[in-house]
Subunit: 172 residues, 2 copies
Amino acid sequence: MRDTLTVISQRKSVRHFTDREISDGQVEVLLRAAMAAPSAKNKQVWEFVVINERSELDRLATLLPYAKMLSQAPVAIVICGDVSKNTEESELNWVADCSAAAENLLLAAESLGLGAVWTAAFPYADRMDAVRQITGIPEHIVPLCVVPVGHPGKDEPVKDKWHPEKIHYNQW
Amino acid sequence: MRDTLTVISQRKSVRHFTDREISDGQVEVLLRAAMAAPSAKNKQVWEFVVINERSELDRLATLLPYAKMLSQAPVAIVICGDVSKNTEESELNWVADCSAAAENLLLAAESLGLGAVWTAAFPYADRMDAVRQITGIPEHIVPLCVVPVGHPGKDEPVKDKWHPEKIHYNQW
C-alpha cells in the first residue's frame, strides 16, 4: 500500500487503456473521493455524469480532439458545476470546487491502480458544447472536464515538476 | 499509516491551531505535493508565497474576513496563478490548475497530521487586493487562495458530503 504522498507524486496522466472493465464499486470509490473535496461555503456545486455506454464514449471521442482515448476507456466521468448556486460575484467558485473534486478523483484512481486523465472541457466553448450535446446536461450545469478511466495500457512516465524557483517567501 | 482513500475522506478544514511551529521540511513536502498536480498543457502556471513572518500573518488576518485563523497559524501558503502564460481563451485554466495544486497541498497536510484550510482570495476583488498589498505579487500573478497550516488545535469534524443524487448515468 502506497502512502498518500507517494500516490500524489506518482499520479500521472494515463492515456492508454486495456479493454478490461472497471467495476461499479470502483466507480463509486472515485465518486466518493470527488465528493470529499472542499467547496466554497460548503455548497458542493459539483455534479457528475458517468458515461459507460460504448456508443456514447465513442461519439464523445470523435467530438473532443484531446480526448480520443475515450474510444479505449471503459468509463468516463464528466465533472460539472452548477452555476445557479452562486451569486454573480462568486460564480467562478464552481471551477475551483470542481477542480479539487477532479484532483481527488484522479488520486483515487491512482491509488486503486487505475489510470485516468483530466481532459478539459471548460473554458473551451466548442468542447463544452460537445459535452452538452452528448450528455444532455441542462443550461445551468457547466462541464469542467471529462476524465476517462480504465486499466493502464502501458507505463506512462511521471513528470518531475518540482521547481523551487516558484516558491517565494513573505514578499514576492 | 492511512491509505490515500482514507486521507481523502478524512481531510477536513482545520481552523484552530496550536502554537507549535511546522518545519521547513514539512513546508517542502506540502509544496512538492502541490507541484505534482496536473496542469493544462503542462504549463504549471502556479506560484507560491510562503508566509511565515508573524507580523505578515497578523496583517493578513486583519484584512481577510474569512481567514482570521491566520493570527494563530505558524505558516500560510498563498497559491497563485500566472495569467500571462495562457491565451485569452484559455486564461481561466489557471484556476483549475491552482485548485488541483491546492487540493494536493491540503491532502499532504492531512497525511502529515497537520491541519489546513482553503480560504478563498479569488474571485473576490477585495480579498485579492488585500493579498496583493501584503505579499507584493506582481500584476500578472493572481492569488487563488490563502492556506493557513499548523498543528490542529482541536478535533474538527469531517463532513459527510456523499450525495448519490449528484450522479447521472450517460444522459442527464
